[in-house]
């Protein structure tokens, strides 16, 4: 039973070994040169003007959450759309209920002002 998973073990070992090789072989072959320019965030030479950890408005977070919800809705609709003929009116009714529930949620967040930007 457990021997069925032997290939998986080999795979894990191979992943680990490959990672080590990719990490340590190039510096060993090519050598390593340090310079101040290499420590800059952009090696293209653009001088960063502010810190990387900036604060974003909370609106981005809300928008991202909404995006995920409706993205998942779309993901559910795709397989349904492929099979809609086979599922018949039952499938249409099921999807209508699903979309209706999300519609209520959309009305809710709309009324709560989650879609207002910067007010």
């Amino acid at each position: 039973m457990l021997s069925d998973y032997f290939p998986l073990l080999i795979f894990l070992i191979a992943v680990f070994v490959f990672g080590l090789i990719a990490l340590y072989l190039p510096p060993w072959l090519a050598g390593h040169l340090d310079s101040a320019a290499k420590d800059l965030p952009y090696e293209s030479g653009i001088v960063p003007r502010t810190g990387a950890r900036r604060r974003f408005a909370i609106s981005f977070y809300l928008t991202a959450m909404l995006f995920i919800i409706f993205d998942i809705e779309a993901i559910f609709i795709y397989p349904w759309a492929v099979n809609v003929k086979g599922l018949g009116w039952f499938g249409v009714a099921e999807m209508a209920v699903f979309v209706a529930v999300l519609l209520v949620a959309l009305i809710y967040v709309w009324r709560k002002g989650a879609l207002e930007w910067g007010s």
Binding site: M1, L2, N83, K85, G86, L87, G88, F90, V101, V104, A105, I107, Y108, R111, K112
Partner: protein
């Protein structure tokens, strides 16, 4: 191409109670937008009406054995037993909520939506007969409770408790899901029926299947976390203390009940053939819970933390009834869960009522002389404390008696001895609350607000039920026996 959907057993009647609860949540979500803020009590009323509708929908399912949606959920007496219990808990919670929420300035409609969402998840968990629906139920109840723990948005403790619960809960969910994946990998099925068929088949050698046993182990960790059994209990005191008391009241009884429904279905119904394998770890979890819960509760000076540790101890007692793996023992577990729900709900509801009455400090020292300030609250609290300790004639006595009886019948001695000794230890901290309430009061002027009819009624009914069921336990025991026996 026509897809045959008749074969997967679509049966909305079997999950009607869950649908009604979820539907009520959507209706309340909608109403929250149109109801003016000073009329938010209406939302509580709508919530209660929806829950009563779910109660009506669940009664006809009693005595049935309706597997639906491809063996993923079942409408049987066990599910009905838990549905009635959970709906009753939720109605009682919602009834005492408005006054408490108003006192803490938390009167938002979202509270009822989240409570309904958690209830729907718990009911689904109690009816789940597939790893997928178990997971769905647990997530639905957990996510609602994560938000509810942090519902007091301006209180740092509440935020901390929500974050702790979320992080540790997410970790436990990882265990749960990994366990499920391993069980699926070992047995090739996600439905409990399919898994049971695999483990009972002679050819499978399930007791020696490392993947399966590992999977069951991880699954136990996830479920023990939700039931707050030691050593997976670390989150319990902090979350119970930090969360708004009304939320603690709800989740300390409802989550535990639902989690044990899943424990029963998984261990007793699905893995009876390899009970020799899960018996020892489960016994160890029970003994740990009894030790840690009862011993640490002694040192607690905050009543919410004390009740949290007492809840851990009670998870141990409830788990004891699962150990023999028989219908008779499981009916004792069900009785214990029902008894625990009534008395622990009552105890936390008193804390809630005291907070709603203007005393939001849950330190035991602030409860000095409660008998003189609030005689009714102190009296019902005394009943609940005596019942939690297991002193007759309260329901807590019979709950412990039935579980111990089941252990004697099954010749399980070591956990029984621990349980009996720990019960005696528990007398100390339960009786201490009564002594403190009776002590002469400090001369502090406390702003006193009336309790209101719903809170008094809920507390009165809970107190009465604790005593009446302690004198006539047969009714509930009969239901519990029938719910447990149909299960096999």
């Amino acid at each position: 191409m026509t897809i045959n959907i008749s074969g997967i057993g679509i049966d909305y009647g079997a999950i009607l109670p869950e649908l009604v609860v979820a539907g009520t949540a959507i209706v309340v979500l909608f109403l929250e937008l149109v109801v003016p803020p000073d009329r938010r009590r209406w939302l509580a009323a709508v919530t209660v009406i929806g829950l009563l509708g779910a109660l009506v929908a669940t009664i006809p399912l009693w005595g049935q054995n309706r597997s639906a949606f491809g063996d993923t959920v079942i409408a049987d007496s066990l599910a009905v037993f838990f549905n009635v219990l959970l709906i009753a808990i939720t109605i009682a919670t919602v009834a005492i909520s408005p006054r408490y929420l108003h006192a803490l300035d938390l009167d938002y409609g979202e509270y009822y939506i989240l409570i309904l969402g958690a209830t729907a998840g718990m009911m689904l968990l109690a009816a789940a007969t597939s790893l997928m629906t178990i997971f769905l139920g647990i997530e639905l109840l957990s996510i609602s409770l994560y938000v509810l723990s942090g519902f007091a948005r301006t209180t740092l403790r509440s935020q901390e408790s929500a974050l702790k619960y979320l992080l540790l809960g997410g970790f436990a969910t990882g265990f749960l899901l990994y366990g499920m994946a391993l069980i699926y990998g070992a047995t090739g099925s996600t439905t409990l029926r399919g898994i049971a068929a695999f483990t009972t088949a002679a050819s499978s050698n399930a007791a020696g299947n490392v993947l399966l046993l590992l999977g069951i182990g991880f699954l136990s960790v996830g479920l023990a976390f939700k039931a707050s059994a030691a050593p997976f209990h670390m989150w319990t005191p902090d979350v119970y203390e930090g969360a708004p008391t009304i939320v603690t009241t709800f989740m300390s009884v409802a989550t535990k009940s639902a989690a044990f429904a899943a424990v029963g279905r998984v261990f007793i119904a699905t893995f009876p053939s390899i009970s020799s394998r899960w018996y020892f770890p489960l016994a160890l979890i029970a003994i740990f819970s009894l030790f840690i819960g009862n011993l640490v509760a002694i040192t607690q000076d905050n009543i919410k933390r004390m009740l949290a540790y007492s809840g851990i101890a009670h998870a141990g007692y409830i788990l004891l009834g699962v150990l023999p793996g028989t219908a008779q023992a499981f009916s004792a577990t069900l009785f214990y869960i029902a008894a625990y729900s009534v008395m622990n709900f009552g105890a936390f509801a008193v804390v809630t009522a005291v907070a709603a009455g203007g005393e939001q400090n849950a330190d035991l020292s602030h409860w000095r002389g409660l008998f003189y300030r609030r005689p009714f609250l102190a009296t019902v609290m005394t009943i609940f404390m005596l019942s939690l300790a297991g002193i007759p004639p309260t329901v807590g006595f019979f709950a412990k008696l039935f579980v111990f009886q089941a252990l004697v019948n099954a010749q399980i001695w070591a956990p029984l001895i621990v349980a009996v000794i720990m019960t005696i230890v528990s007398f100390y901290y339960y009786l201490r609350v009564i002594v403190i309430m009776l002590a002469a009061p400090d001369e502090v002027a406390v702003e006193k607000r009336p309790l209101g009819i719903p809170t008094s009624t809920v507390l009165g009914v809970a107190g009465l039920a604790t005593v009446v069921l302690g004198i006539f336990p047969a009714v509930v025991l009969d239901w519990a026996t029938r719910a447990a026996s149909l299960h096999f």
